[in-house]
Symmetry: C2
Subunit: 290 residues, 2 copies
């Protein structure tokens, strides 16, 4: 069986794996993504050890990033508040050091691809992967391709109706009432302290699920995906998925005759868990070989 | 040159045309859509006179309607508040009377197709057509096909943030704060009287453009279409298009570096005007021949 390399290039951690064509992970490592040069060096060192065994390398990266294969900046991280990373070109960094021709896409497109191949979006025609963490973003696949290519949508900045008991100004410096500004991890902890200390009945989860339900409603009514996968650190909170499903059902209010059981099918968490992104990166490498 | 028949099956009027493959209209007629049997009879009578000259018939219809060619109900108007129309099957009605094999899609998908062929969405990879009239709906095309097939999205029911000076309860019986409930023609006239009496400085247009800008923002951030076409009777209001563009720019607030000139390219009114739907129906017939 052929093996491939994958990198989930996150704002906090770079995860690297060597995996088979069936998604089996043979080798893995994690490196903090503080200094860009050090992070790339650590990843390159990992893959140098496994270079003989891999047939390709895929990268699913935080953004904004140029994912247009025809662009001269393909693989380059664009203007980002993350210090020392603006302008870093992941593709040329790995290509030059390893002598490969790697494939780069967004973290959410990668995670979505992983879920379509081996996770909870297998066999569907259309799906969205929404990550709710330090930031919020979505990858969408329909009619046989990612949405927004050669760039990517900015779903994290859709405008929301405010929860009636929420007067938080939001953490997005650009939009007051946007999804990322109100429902990302930093937005939650700015109001309620560390999310790990919020138990299931904390009112913060009521507010959070109301916002995430609006995001699901918006995706559903605009593009009718077969599956909406909610990933990212925040979705690990106990009971949150059910709250989001319930709020979405309330917001739909019987419209389109969606039953509770259908909403359970529609809105799910990642089947690959924390490995969705890195296995998606492996998928990118596999697809490029075809 | 081959000729084709097209029907824009609207909630108020059915428009029928015979047109060439280049979109030239040779014959046309309009019939009020009050009684379903009478309306179909009038249309059938029109096409019977031109049956020898047409090579196919397309219908772009109000909904909800079954547009799945593999469904036993293909072409059937589903449960609708429009009296006497629930369960009427347009396809079988015309097929049986005229001996044709007509193609049926939604009014907004039809109008979008017309605009892609002969209007303001020529040469783009992705586009949305939003109609703002008695109801609000959107047809979206990306990655080579319509979005939501074999059904269709229900973009008119996305949830909006309320305008700070708007305490109207909305006219949608299902959702309090949805686009259709707050920004459709009946929603406007319920608050402000007949829209034809509202001059350009009427505060109603400020509220309307704020809602339509949220719709444009949502479409842009979710699917990144190359073009958003705003059609329907309400968009005939003098100056409204510019107000919507301005509000969209304010909402984006510099995000994604969209310039005013790019927003003008993004958000437009139909190039085919009132004929977008009926010429789109002709396109449906032409496509089916290929």
């Amino acid at each position: 069986m052929k093996k491939f390399g994958g990198i989930d290039a996150g704002g906090t951690t770079f995860k690297c794996v060597v995996a088979g064509q069936d998604g089996t992970i043979f080798e893995q490592a994690r490196f903090p993504s503080l200094d860009s040069a050090q992070t790339l060096k650590a990843c390159i060192s990992f893959f140098t050890r496994h270079l003989d065994s891999i047939s390709g390398l895929g990268i699913a990266s935080f953004g904004p990033i140029d994912i247009d294969p025809t662009s001269s900046r393909y693989g380059q991280i664009l203007e980002t508040p993350k210090k020392g990373w603006s302008g870093v070109n992941l593709k040329s960094g790995f290509d030059n050091a390893l002598g490969v021709n790697c494939v780069v896409n967004t973290d959410v497109n990668g995670a979505l691809l992983g879920e379509m191949q081996w996770g909870r979006a297998q066999g569907v025609n259309s799906a969205a992967y929404v990550t709710i963490g330090t930031g919020i973003g979505a990858g969408i696949f329909l009619n046989g391709g990612f949405v927004g290519a050669p760039t990517h949508p900015e779903f994290g900045h859709i405008r929301l109706e405010r929860h009636q008991h929420d007067d938080f100004e939001g953490i997005c410096s650009i939009h007051r009432n946007c999804l990322e500004g109100l429902a990302s991890a930093p937005a939650l902890s700015a109001r309620f302290g560390p999310t790990k200390d919020m138990d299931i009945n904390h009112k913060g989860w009521e507010i959070e699920s109301w916002y995430l339900a609006q995001a699901c409603l918006s995706l559903y009514l605009t593009i009718r995906p077969d599956r909406i996968i909610l990933g990212g650190g925040i979705m690990l909170a106990n009971g949150l998925l059910d709250k989001v499903r319930n709020e979405t059902e309330k917001l739909l209010n019987g419209y389109t005759d969606m039953k509770s059981s259908e909403i359970e099918q529609l809105i799910v968490t990642p089947g690959l868990g924390d490995n969705a992104g890195v296995l998606g990166a492996v998928c990118l490498a596999i697809q490029a070989q075809r």
